[in-house]
Symmetry: C2
Subunit: 316 residues, 2 copies
């Protein structure tokens, strides 16, 4: 039997065909072009699935299930995407629409949950019993595999570590709360702090690296790499808050592994050293000792690969 | 078949005999007297078990299993209590010792986990799929029932919401971290804040209620009930932090129910209103709507009853 995983993002649709041993037989990435409308995006999803089959000489009727990983909250039972701002979608019955077009069973899964499954099964969290996957990118998201099963919570929204409060009266978050991890440690938050200080003398090192455009999180990271003090302070603060949120999850869930991916995690040691320090400072010794903090190992593949694993029934 | 649950506390040992329908057939409470030593405490545990059987005309060989709920971290596999400061115990092989004396299989469980099972099965969290039980007393502890099973984490230490950080540079906690929920919202923390302000003019209302002894959390609660401003502010702050920790757990775990018990929860509406407000302010609307915040309904019974339910294999 074969399975297809599709990672539906705001800018691209990544897809993979795997066999029941989770071996990747074909992969494809196409632009999303959500501005062309829902039908057009669904056409590109079904077209991707057909193309994967063709390129691996697999017939669609040999595909046991397709899983689409979608941003935002979903309803599994009805295969509905509830609210995906990156796509401009609200209440789209994605699974039935794709299933009707392909003639194959289709399920939907939250994209961070799918990535968590991939990292748990085939990536940095391999062999972990209780792990959290965290993606630190434009936003901060996550997924939980507890007792070796994907944990979705009562409404499918578990894993929202990005909206846990780490500074009670901290900066306003896009979600309406103050002091969310996402408002303090996301790429967007790091960039904003860099932009703010770039106009001050202390921010000159950052400003000098951003002559061609606005200050981004990567500008701040590059300035920090060159030893700039303001940039270093911005990252140190952001990663301290990330470490607090991870320590809180470790205390609450006594995790054996925390896998951190996403663009900001690419900054590397400075992030991981901070997170490991906070976990050692803020949890009991045996909780800290049991909890590995590791970089994600599947990169941009994790979304589509995880969706394919979910299609194959992994971590169910 | 019958089952016995024993709640081993620092001051008393509460025990219950139930049948397989979780009906309570006998109950007993005796003092712990841990200062008389480990053997003596184990004698009172086995004596309690025997007394329960005698008073319900049940023979010990009809008891399928005994479960002892113990404070602090335990190792289930070996039935070991690792560290129970209230008893002065470290690495006590409790389950084998009790099992040898009674001739019945014995398991150990963390006491907050046992209480969580009782509230989930028979108390305020009945019918909940994903719930957290929190006890706010001298300390702050908790237990998680996720996907209808007791979630213990990788080393049996899950549920430690009392040591999640809710104020990064907050007051020092007994555990060595700063800004733990326990250091801000436990009965001990409320009493300490009351004692601090009692020496100031603003704290006169609190001081007047504590003529016979030190200021306790209950003194602060009574002063607040009478409209004292300082006492009200102390509780408002404590319960705000409790609400933040609960909101963080709700965001991370998309819970359907949070059950709050322990002496401090007896303060009532002021606590529950604050926690509900913070959850509504700090989680997505649909997460808040799904998450009931309710008082524990089993009171002091929950430890022994939960241990008995664990003995009967509930939530396993």
């Amino acid at each position: 039997m074969y399975y297809i995983g599709i990672d539906l993002g705001g800018t691209k649709i990544a897809s993979m065909l795997i066999n029941s041993e989770y071996e990747v037989l074909a992969r494809l990435t196409v632009p999303t072009r959500h501005e062309e409308g829902e039908q057009s995006v669904i056409g590109r999803i079904t077209g991707s699935a057909q193309h994967l089959c063709d390129s691996a000489s697999v017939e669609m009727r040999q595909v046991g299930r397709v899983c689409v990983g979608s941003p935002g909250p979903i309803i599994r039972e009805s295969g509905m995407v509830l609210d995906a701002p990156n796509l401009g979608w609200k209440n789209v019955a994605l699974a039935p629409l794709v299933s009707n077009a392909l003639g194959v069973p289709v399920i939907v899964e939250n994209d961070a949950n799918a990535a968590a499954v991939a990292e748990n099964l085939l990536g940095a969290g391999k062999a972990s019993r209780n792990m959290m996957y965290i993606t630190v990118s434009t936003g901060v998201g996550g997924g939980l595999v507890l007792d070796r099963r994907l944990y979705r919570g009562s409404g499918g929204a578990a894993g929202e570590i990005g909206h846990t409060t780490v500074l009670p009266n901290g900066p306003l978050c896009g979600c309406g709360n103050r002091g969310c991890l996402e408002a303090l440690a996301s790429g967007t938050a790091i960039a904003r702090r860099g932009q703010e200080i770039a106009h001050r003398p202390a921010g000159r090192g950052i400003a000098q690296l951003a002559v061609d455009g606005p200050v981004t999180a990567m500008t701040v990271a590059e300035a920090a790499r060159r030893g700039d003090r303001a940039a270093t302070a911005i990252l140190r603060d952001a990663f301290e808050y990330l470490g607090i949120a991870v320590a809180n999850a470790a205390n609450l869930l006594n995790l054996d592994t925390v896998v951190i991916g996403g663009g900001v995690a690419g900054i590397g040691d400075m992030l991981f050293d901070s997170v490991r320090y906070e976990v050692r400072a803020r949890t009991f010794a045996f909780v800290a000792e049991q909890c590995k903090i590791v970089p994600a190992s599947l990169g941009a593949d994790s979304g589509a690969l995880g969706a394919a694993c979910c299609a194959a029934g992994a971590c169910a």
